[in-house]
């Protein structure tokens, strides 16, 4: 499966996302101390790392919620380092955050419609139809307040809202967090489907085994920078990763 995603192709054309020496933090607290990674067009890349290592901080910096303190972010051919979050959404880099951050006081349908806030109306109906087809459970609950959805449905809604923005690259921050084993399974089926459709994905996950099964490549973050990287297959066999995560 991983072979089909031609991991070598980023050699030829410049990568879709190219992060070099990225630094970010909060106050005096430095979290990222020079993170470098790339995602090629159509590629699925996993980011792994222990709790509190800065994966969410990386995502927040990429999507412009947090200002980078150093380094460079190139996306789809332009430099977006320090760009404002709305401009980054406009460019098609869409972040589905940890903790979902849906609008609880709005209906499911309104949440989805706001997903395309930066896109305007022309393509909206078609995108909405496609997203509702992907998430039949959301289609049934369109008029329900989003706050009354179950945790799994809320996660679906967060992803659906992200898809409404017509992403070029979708960042998923722990989409399986807090889901039952059955729903985790469903979530990875969905992620597999999204990448089969050619969507580029940056996937942050605690489910190491399943993430490596779906991703072409992966990065492991430790002490604020990339400690380990390579093809998902190679990392799945890597003893250092196995000891760090799987306790094997």
């Amino acid at each position: 499966m991983a072979l089909a995603r031609r991991p070598g192709s980023q050699m030829a054309e410049p990568p879709l996302l190219d992060v070099a020496g990225l630094r970010a933090g909060y106050g005096a607290f430095e979290v990222l101390r020079g993170v470098s990674l790339t995602v090629a067009a159509g590629e699925v890349v996993a980011v792994l790392g222990a709790n509190g290592v800065g994966k969410t901080t990386l995502n927040r910096t990429l999507s412009g919620l947090l200002r980078p303190r150093g380094g460079r972010i190139r996306f789809a051919g332009s430099d977006i380092t320090g760009a404002d979050h709305a401009a980054i959404v406009q460019a098609g880099l869409i972040h589905v955050p940890e903790g979902r951050r849906i609008f609880p006081n709005l209906t499911v349908r309104e949440n989805l419609l706001l997903g395309s806030y930066a896109r305007g109306r022309p393509a909206r109906a078609a995108t909405l139809a496609r997203v509702l087809q992907t998430f039949p459970r959301l289609a049934e609950r369109q008029r329900q307040k989003a706050g009354s959805l179950s945790g799994g449905e809320q996660q679906m809604l967060a992803i659906g809202r992200g898809l409404m923005a017509q992403p070029v690259l979708l960042i998923l921050d722990e989409p399986s967090l807090g889901l039952s084993p059955k729903l985790v399974e469903e979530m990875f089926v969905l992620i597999g489907r999204l990448c089969a459709e050619g969507l580029s994905l940056l996937l942050v996950e605690q489910n190491v085994v399943q993430s490596l099964a779906v991703a072409a490549r992966a990065y492991v973050i430790e002490h604020g920078s990339v400690a380990l990287s390579g093809s998902a297959d190679a990392l799945a066999r890597d003893t250092r990763l196995r000891t760090a995560y799987l306790g094997l």
């Binding site: 979050h85 709305a86 955050p97 849906i102 006081n105 419609l113 706001l114 997903g115 806030y117 930066a118």
Partner: protein, 288 residues
């Protein structure tokens, strides 16, 4: 007494309509910015003086001035938030709260300098005109003010429910970070919401002018009622603001009718306490 009951009820509803407009602006600003806008009364006073100036200097009827004053007050509110309240408050709720208080103090004293403490009013051709409705005689100015207020409330509701910007305002109110992730700029929405809240005052000022005196202190009177209405209806709730305002208008009138002008005013605070005892979050308040 029964012959007086119906007119008092109708009068209460009519006054309540304009209270609703003042309260809608207040509840919108509270719902989005999570602060009580201390400048609300002062900005209503500014709107009433604006309408008074247009009427006395340019001969523009206050009812015709509603769109103009709503637009002007929107600009003032938006600018105040964008250049004063936002930067001074720096996103800290207490800072924002104190900034609105500062704006109120400046506006009140500026009005005292410009207009002295005197009360003023305008003459309109319809000031004493009455509309006959069955056994009732209704003052035309109040009827028009009520209709105008309800129309504006309806427009505001449609805007909030049906437009992208309206949805964005509601989204930012509860989940600013999620809103940022779909490309909404929360700081712009804050300024916009403040502007819209103040635009309601522009309309309210015009609708009130034909039947009320205007003075630099006039805002305090209305805004105390509006605070009561907003808490009674449920902080941040639109239907709450409208229903609460009508209830307060009716209670006020019935209180004055049955208990007299001196004892009557206790009825609204009594209603307020009674409702909050039964429903601490107000009539339409979200139970969180």
């Amino acid at each position: 007494m029964m012959a007086l009951l119906l007119p008092a009820l109708v009068g209460g509803v009519l006054t309540g309509g304009v209270y609703a407009l003042v309260a809608l602006g207040l509840t919108l600003i509270y719902g989005v910015l999570h602060i009580v806008n201390f400048a609300h009364g002062s900005l209503l006073m500014v709107a009433m003086f604006g309408a008074w100036l247009l009427a006395t200097r340019l001969g523009l009827d206050p009812l015709a001035a509603v769109p103009l004053m709503a637009g002007a007050m929107f600009a003032i509110g938006w600018g105040l938030y964008r250049f004063v309240i936002g930067p001074v408050g720096r996103g800290d709720d207490r800072g924002v709260l104190l900034a609105t208080l500062g704006v109120a103090v400046v506006l009140d004293n500026a009005a005292l300098i410009a207009f002295t403490g005197d009360s003023r009013s305008i003459e309109t051709p319809y000031a004493l005109q009455m509309v006959q409705a069955g056994p009732l005689l209704i003052p035309l100015a109040k009827l028009v003010a009520f209709a105008g207020a309800m129309l504006i409330a309806l427009l505001l509701w449609a805007f909030m429910a049906l437009t992208d910007t309206g949805r964005a305002i509601r989204a930012v109110a509860r989940e600013p970070e999620g809103a940022a992730l779909v490309g909404i700029r929360p700081a712009r929405i804050f300024a916009l919401a403040y502007g819209i809240g103040i635009a309601c005052l522009g309309a309210a000022g015009c609708l009130l002018l034909p039947s009320f005196y205007v003075s630099p202190q006039v805002g305090g009177m209305f805004v105390l009622v509006a605070f009561t209405v907003v808490v009674l209806g449920g902080m941040g709730s639109f239907p709450g603001a409208v229903v609460g305002a009508l209830l307060v208008g009716i209670t006020e009138n019935l209180g004055n009718l049955y208990l007299g002008e001196s004892l009557g005013p206790i009825c609204v605070p009594l209603l307020f306490i009674a409702v909050l005892l039964v429903r601490p979050t107000g009539l339409f308040g979200a139970v969180r």
